[in-house]
């Protein structure tokens, strides 16, 4: 880790912010704060994408994750009225156990990468991550998976609607109790 100082400053700052945001997500007691911190983390990851020549990915990440999915989370939080610091935290033993498990996995994965000996990046050709190139690849090479994701989305949508719908009998029952 002594090599940290030799790294470019923008990368260091971005990585620092990313990790900070992620840590706030998991430690914040208020769920709404967690969501906001996660959105912030996604922004920094998008910045990483720009650095990695994946410009379109950066935009999509912002739109889909930070925009759509996180708003959905926020919406559900508000709907269920969980925006207070209502969650009882787990005991310290749980914290230690979780930290040990996660740390163990971190250790093992890093150790695994250490032995693989991967070197400097080759770098991409210009315009690889732009929508023109990506669209072409998506519509030729990845056409079948692309269509399949459409089916996946439809089934997910149907599933979500079906799960969210109240049973008819349940509705009748609750109406009876009201009247």
């Amino acid at each position: 880790m002594g090599a940290l100082s030799s790294l470019p400053l923008p990368f260091l700052i971005l990585s620092f912010l990313t990790i900070l945001g992620a840590l706030y997500v998991v430690t914040s007691k208020n769920p709404v704060h967690s969501v906001l911190a996660l959105i912030f983390t996604f922004f920094t990851i998008s910045a990483h994408y720009v650095l990695l020549n994946a410009q379109f990915l950066a935009v999509v990440n912002l739109m889909v994750y930070a925009g759509a999915i996180m708003v959905l989370f926020l919406f559900v939080l508000m709907l269920l009225n969980l925006n207070k610091e209502s969650e009882p935290l787990k005991s310290n033993i749980w914290g230690i156990a979780a930290a040990i498990s996660a740390g163990l996995l971190l250790l093992v994965i890093t150790a695994a990468f250490q032995t693989s000996g991967i070197a400097v990046m080759k770098g991409n050709a210009e315009g690889i991550g732009l929508v023109k190139n990506l669209g072409r690849v998506l519509m030729t090479e990845y056409l079948v998976p692309f269509e399949l994701t459409g089916i996946l989305f439809i089934s997910a949508m149907v599933g979500a609607v079906l799960l969210g719908k109240r049973d008819k009998s349940e509705v009748v029952k609750s109406e009876e109790t009201i009247s």
Binding site: P8, L38, I118, G164
Partner: protein
């Protein structure tokens, strides 16, 4: 590619992603609110996405296969979030709780 990144190695992204992934994992293990759990899973998925984008750069892949995978992971994540949240709403409706500690019916 920006010239300042010539000194950057793939291993740095690997460390960053692994740290993010482990933080997400820690969150999954530590938190009890089911919605936060889902958010931590999103964080873990994003760690993987970042690594895939980094590997695309590392390989100098003209097809951008890694970035393609990121798209598909996003799709799956979106679907997962939709269904997962629907399940949580359902559970909340029945138990008035989103606390996973109380969901101990698996043993039956």
């Amino acid at each position: 590619m920006l010239t300042i990144f010539h000194s950057l190695e793939i291993s740095h992204y690997i460390y960053l992603s692994t740290v993010l992934f482990s933080i997400g994992l820690f969150g999954v293990l530590f938190r009890r609110n089911a919605i936060i759990l889902l958010m931590c899973i999103e964080l873990m998925l994003n760690a993987v996405n970042l690594l895939l984008a980094a590997f695309t750069e590392y390989m100098g892949d003209v097809q951008a296969n890694g970035q393609m995978f990121v798209f598909f992971i996003m799709v799956v994540a979106a679907a997962e979030a939709a269904v997962g949240l629907a399940i949580i709403v359902m559970v909340y409706r029945n138990t008035r709780k989103t606390d996973v500690s109380f969901l101990d019916q698996l043993k039956d």
